[in-house]
């Protein structure tokens, strides 16, 4: 069933949360595939299962049922520490809140995934390269509170890139930024997608952000309501 050319292959994914007595069906059978280098946006109103789907794609949680192949590996059945390794090697996260370590320099923040990967000798060089790729080569020793919102998000993108992941998963990447910084961040993500060939998944409720994607999945009530191809 698994097709080799897909970086993501999701088959009939379901997720049921037990909230006390009530079962909440957050995902009711979601299937789609993503090709390497593709830019995909996932949209949907709150309560549509958008966040749950993002958690599944990001290997932060196991689905109740269904299969998820990431970069050729069946990840939907892995246990906690195996998932941690998959997140470390294959997924770069960009969060709405940036989520940088507050008392660490940009460089240290970008080095963090490499430390968990056990990279020792080339760690600093790789981190510097990633920071240069996002245009922050001159800000490596700054702490987050010395950087603007846009710059902080660039550090986060450098951190997402540094392990050379199969996909970058961006959750409302412009949600905490003004329009100008937001546009720059989207431009940067697209540039990286073009130059590095990194697959880009953007979860958003903002149609303007989704507009840059090649394909948009609209989620509603835990199922894909429609799939929209952009040009």
């Amino acid at each position: 069933m698994f097709e080799k050319e897909n970086v993501i292959q999701i088959e009939n994914l379901t997720k049921v949360y037990q909230m006390g007595e009530i079962q909440v069906h957050a995902l009711r059978g979601v299937s789609f595939t993503v090709k390497p280098g593709e830019v995909l946006a996932i949209m949907g109103p709150s309560g549509s299962g958008k966040s749950t789907l993002m958690n599944m794609i990001g290997c932060l949680d196991n689905p109740t049922d269904g299969n998820y192949y990431l970069d050729g590996e069946l990840v939907s059945t892995l246990v906690d520490d195996e998932l941690a390794e998959v997140r470390n090697r294959k997924i770069g996260f960009v969060f709405q809140q940036f989520n940088l370590l507050p008392r660490a320099t940009a460089l240290t923040n970008v080095e963090l995934p490499l430390r968990y990967a056990g990279v020792n000798g080339s760690r600093k060089d790789l981190a510097l390269k990633a920071l240069e790729a996002v245009g922050l080569g001159d800000r490596v020793d700054h702490q987050p509170n010395e950087l603007s919102g846009g710059q902080q998000q660039r550090v986060a993108i450098a951190r997402a890139l540094v392990n050379n992941p199969a996909i970058i998963l961006a959750d409302e990447p412009t949600g905490n930024l003004d329009t100008t910084s937001g546009d720059e961040i989207m431009k940067l993500l697209l540039t990286l997608n073009k130059t590095e060939g990194t697959t880009l998944l953007i979860v958003t409720h903002d149609p303007e952000v989704a507009a840059i994607a090649e394909r948009v999945l609209h989620l509603r009530d835990g199922v894909i309501e429609k799939e929209e191809l952009m040009q």
């Binding site: 906690d80 941690a84 989520n99 370590l101 008392r103 968990y116 990967a117």
Partner: protein, 410 residues
């Protein structure tokens, strides 16, 4: 993840809350300091007691009235006659010297100096049993015992205290219980500590003591008898011989228990060791309780820290941190807290021990308090163990946070 980076990172997050970290460390400082101080005080008190018992001499057997191990009603007093029987018995071949002691407490004065102390009424053989050397003059003689003479031999420290000097005092007069006594000799210093320092002893002829000190019981009653052995290797035989002689003089029927007790230095040491061990455990226990309280402080602060940093934990997990990575990160923080506490605690404990030692010495009870390497190592290891033990629960809680929920935490 290498250790150096982990430690560096832990230092950064601990220094982010300096006051909180310092107060947490303070709890451990107090705990470790009390363990160090109380253990070393207990140990040195024990050492000083043991040292005094060793002053008794290894080949001396103490003979006391009564028997604590068996139920003996109405035990006979020990008397001078018992001592004479032991000394003159042809069967007691392993007994070298026998020294009966009649002791009582009274006032001893010289000019305006006055001190209340125990007076030892002894026979000349006491000198040989206790192996006393004379610094000047002579020990109590048989003639002085015979004649009930008002003469006294002083320990050097007592001479110093009463006469202001410990040499050239033969011929001086002191008053004991109001009667004048001529000083006939001063003993060589033997050393010992305050509880029972032979250098403080005051010796008079046993006949004089029996006549002038308050007494009860049989007319020739003595409180205890000392006997020295010919050969330490034959201690068992010596003890058997003493029992044979005393059972006969006390007319104890066969199968009835002894109405006296024989103790040698080993027995005293065993009792003293039991006492000092209990003392040390007791003091160490008090220290351990404060260390425990400090440890609970660490646990408390680490739990707060885990809650505050839930998002950070979620982020680290999203970036690929395994459970073990998070566990180690938080454990290192708690171990660092307790280790710093341990280091400062050792310094403080050492300081307290020194101060106590000074105070004890100034107040006349020289206690040589030594903070041993062992107790330092023990305190260091123990405080690190406290860090691991009390840090484990919070760290484990952190490492088991679900990444999804941790990232969502506000």
């Amino acid at each position: 993840m290498n250790l150096f980076l982990n430690v560096k990172e832990a230092m950064v997050s601990l220094s982010a809350n300096k006051m909180r970290s310092l107060l947490t460390i303070l709890g451990i400082v107090i705990g470790v300091a009390s363990v160090i101080a109380l253990l070393s005080i207990g140990e040195s008190a024990g050492a000083s007691i043991t040292g005094e018992i060793e002053n008794i001499g290894t080949n001396v057997i103490y003979i006391l009235r009564g028997n604590n191990d068996e139920d003996v009603s109405n035990p006979k007093d020990l008397t001078l006659r018992d001592a004479q029987a032991l000394a003159s018995s042809t069967r007691a071949t392993e007994i070298a010297y026998v020294a009966p002691v009649f002791t009582g407490s009274t006032e001893i004065t010289r000019a305006d100096r006055s001190v209340s102390t125990a007076i030892l009424g002894i026979t000349p053989d006491y000198q040989f049993v206790m192996n006393l050397a004379m610094a000047e003059g002579a020990f109590i003689s048989a003639a002085q015992v015979e004649g009930r003479s008002a003469v006294v031999v002083l320990g050097p420290a007592r001479a110093q205290q009463l006469l202001g000097r410990s040499s050239g005092v033969v011929g001086s007069t002191v008053r004991i219980g109001g009667y004048p006594y001529r000083v006939v000799g001063v003993v060589e210093p033997k050393g010992g500590s305050a509880f029972n320092n032979p250098d403080n002893n005051v010796y008079v002829p046993i006949s004089t003591a029996q006549a002038r000190l308050p007494r009860s019981g049989a007319p020739d009653r003595v409180q205890y008898i000392l006997a020295s052995m010919v050969d330490l290797d034959n201690a068992d035989l010596a003890i058997r011989q003493i029992r044979q002689v005393l059972r006969r003089t006390h007319r104890i029927p066969p199968r009835n228990p002894d109405d006296f007790t024989l103790l040698n230095q080993q027995d005293f040491l065993a009792v003293a060791n039991t006492i000092t061990n209990v003392l040390t455990i007791f003091l160490g226990g008090i220290g351990a309780i404060s260390l425990l309280v400090g440890g609970i402080g660490i646990m408390n602060i680490m739990l707060v820290s885990v809650t505050e940093r839930t998002r950070e934990i979620g982020l680290r997990k999203a970036l690929g941190a395994r459970k073990a990575d998070i566990l180690i990160q938080f454990l290192i923080e708690s171990v660092l807290l307790s280790l710093f506490g341990g280091i400062f605690g050792i310094a403080l404990g050492w300081g307290i021990s020194t101060v106590v030692s000074q105070i004890a010495t100034r107040s006349g009870t020289p206690l040589d308090i030594v903070v041993t390497l062992n107790s330092v190592l023990l305190a260091t290891l123990f405080s690190a163990a406290v860090g691991v033990f009390f840090g484990y629960y919070p760290a484990n809680r952190a490492s088991n946070l679900a990444p999804v929920e941790a990232l969502r935490y506000e």
